[in-house]
């Protein structure tokens, strides 16, 4: 046996082992559970029942509708905010940005509690407008995650391109739609991924607002509560597969993952 030589590469070993044990292995286990039945035999029934069960398909559609609506509302609210903060030469732009990001660090259950109290005061019974209240609550929760990536992208926008477009005869509207908007696509993509997925899966917000859990995430929760690991795993796997497909399109890990979570130190 040769003598042990320290090399910098070896520092990675603990984390690599950790990733294998607690990231890769759990995924392998849910794949196994998703395709087996109670006695450990291979089966496709969990997969089939997902697509044939009216309840799960209905939930899937409903959560997609919710997620699309929440993402669209967040984008429409956040884009002008990010644009003004980044482009209108505010003296204290970064400080005001902080104001819009700060709620991110208050525990979301407490913020939703606050919103719920206010909405109850305005509307009375919240379950009378379930869809509207879901959209309001999720928008309230996810807005900072949409503003931050948009701001980052818009801040880096090259002013000279906008001037060039204007010099070449584009009106303000044309400049916006043909230059600014396409150039801010990376921020839009980041923001959309930061909002869409939680909107599909964060059933806690719904449950807190009007005691209903009718989105994708809640299916996992309900199977968890009745100890049905196999169907729960199948749903998790389907969600994970969807996420993988999306993240292939949105590119690889980079700084933006970090910035979007508010790593502002």
């Amino acid at each position: 046996m040769g003598t042990f030589r320290f090399s910098r590469k070896q520092l990675c070993i603990p984390y690599a082992l950790f990733l294998v044990c607690f990231v890769v292995l759990p995924l392998a286990v849910i794949i196994y559970y998703a395709f087996t039945d109670g006695s450990g035999r291979f089966t496709l029934e969990n997969l089939l029942s997902f697509f044939t069960n009216g309840n799960t398909i209905g939930t899937l559609c409903y959560s997609v509708v919710i997620a699309v609506a929440v993402t669209a509302v967040c984008l429409l609210i956040a884009y002008p905010v990010a644009y003004v903060l980044a482009r209108s030469g505010l003296k204290r732009g970064p400080v005001i940005l902080m104001m819009f990001i700060l709620p991110m660090w208050i525990n979301f259950t407490l913020r939703i509690t606050a919103l719920k109290e206010v909405l109850t005061l305005i509307e009375g019974n919240l379950s009378l407008h379930p869809f509207l209240n879901t959209i309001i609550a999720m928008t309230y929760d996810f807005l900072p995650f949409m503003i931050l990536p948009l701001y980052t992208t818009l801040l880096q926008l090259d002013e000279s391109l906008l001037e060039a477009a204007a010099d070449l005869g584009a009106g303000p509207v044309a400049v916006f739609f043909r230059v600014t908007l396409p150039l801010s696509m990376p921020g839009i993509v980041s923001g959309v991924t930061m909002t869409f997925l939680p909107a599909m899966t964060n059933y806690v917000i719904l449950d807190m607002i009007y005691n209903s859990t009718y989105i994708m995430g809640s299916l996992i929760g309900s199977y968890f509560n009745i100890y049905d690991w196999h169907n729960g795993s199948m749903i998790s796997l389907i969600l994970f597969a969807g996420i993988c497909i999306v993240s292939i399109f949105t590119g690889k890990a980079d700084q933006s993952d970090l910035d979007n979570r508010g790593a502002v130190l």
């Binding site: 910098r8 970090l258 979570r261 790593a263």
Partner: protein
């Protein structure tokens, strides 16, 4: 002029939307009313309850301890991982990078469920040992430490490490005295982010925690489903306290950042190059 007024009023409107609920709750936390809208007298009893009721104190203390503990483990693990991966060949590095990305992009509920299945259902680890809970939170946090440290490694001047070795430092000494000081801002940033992620987590906690233990998120969630009003209004006080702590932290961070030479902007986009 008109444009300016319009755009600033939009900012104000959105800010109001984001802050009014929290501020209203803060206002009512200083009264003895049990519902929003019914003003009664000024009272600090919510704060007294918050800081004296054992159940609440344990819950808050436990949440903070878990957050700091998980963040500390994540900071060490993620930093070592990033250094190791940075000096590894492309293939192992890409593998680590890919696995590291999984918890970042994955839905929290899926991460939580898969960890719960492995640790509790398959391996049969008791939830009461807190092992699944801590592992779950470390899984949640470490990828972000890794992502925070990696750009600092890329910016580092590699010649310094080689120079230290030439001058007789052992590789370990060189790492501790040369590499670590250069990446420490990334480590701290990752550590702080980890604390906020752990504090905000609901899903991993609820799937892996012991039945008798609650984090702020799981506690508040359960409290909204028919808790005593005493606890409900004490949570208004908790919300207000957290709001104030966050504001103070942000102000302090801004002050610290503005004192530093212009290398780090307030928003933290300190020219870290993108790949």
């Amino acid at each position: 002029m008109m444009k300016k007024v319009l755009s600033y009023s939009w900012l104000v409107l959105v800010a109001l939307f984001m802050y009014i609920p929290v501020l209203i709750l803060a206002f009512y936390s200083f009264t003895d009313s049990t519902t929003i809208g019914a003003v009664r007298g000024f009272s600090l009893h919510n704060y007294v309850t918050l800081f004296t009721m054992e159940e609440l104190r344990n819950m808050i203390g436990g949440t903070l301890l878990l957050a700091v503990g998980a963040a500390a483990i994540a900071a060490v693990l993620g930093t070592l991982g990033a250094i190791g991966a940075f000096y590894s060949r492309p293939v192992p590095r890409t593998l680590v990078e890919t696995a590291n990305r999984v918890p970042v992009v994955n839905a929290d509920v899926v991460t939580a469920f898969s960890i719960c299945i492995l640790l509790i259902v398959v391996l049969g680890i008791e939830k009461n040992t807190f092992i699944p809970l801590v592992i779950g939170h470390v899984v949640l946090c470490t990828p972000f430490v890794y992502l925070a440290v990696m750009p600092k490694l890329k910016q580092m001047d590699n010649g310094l490490y080689e120079a230290a070795l030439d001058l007789g430092a052992t590789p370990f000494q060189a790492l501790r005295k040369i590499v670590l000081p250069q990446i420490i801002p990334g480590v701290i940033s990752g550590f702080m982010l980890s604390i906020t992620l752990s504090l905000d987590d609901y899903f991993v906690s609820t799937y892996t925690k012991p039945a008798t233990f609650d984090t702020i998120s799981t506690y508040v969630y359960n409290a909204t489903r028919g808790a005593q009003t005493e606890i409900k209004t004490a949570l208004w006080a908790l919300s207000t306290v957290i709001f104030l702590v966050v504001i103070i932290a942000v102000v302090l961070m801004n002050l610290a950042a503005s004192k530093q030479p212009k290398t780090q902007e307030v928003s933290g986009h300190d020219g870290r190059e993108r790949e």
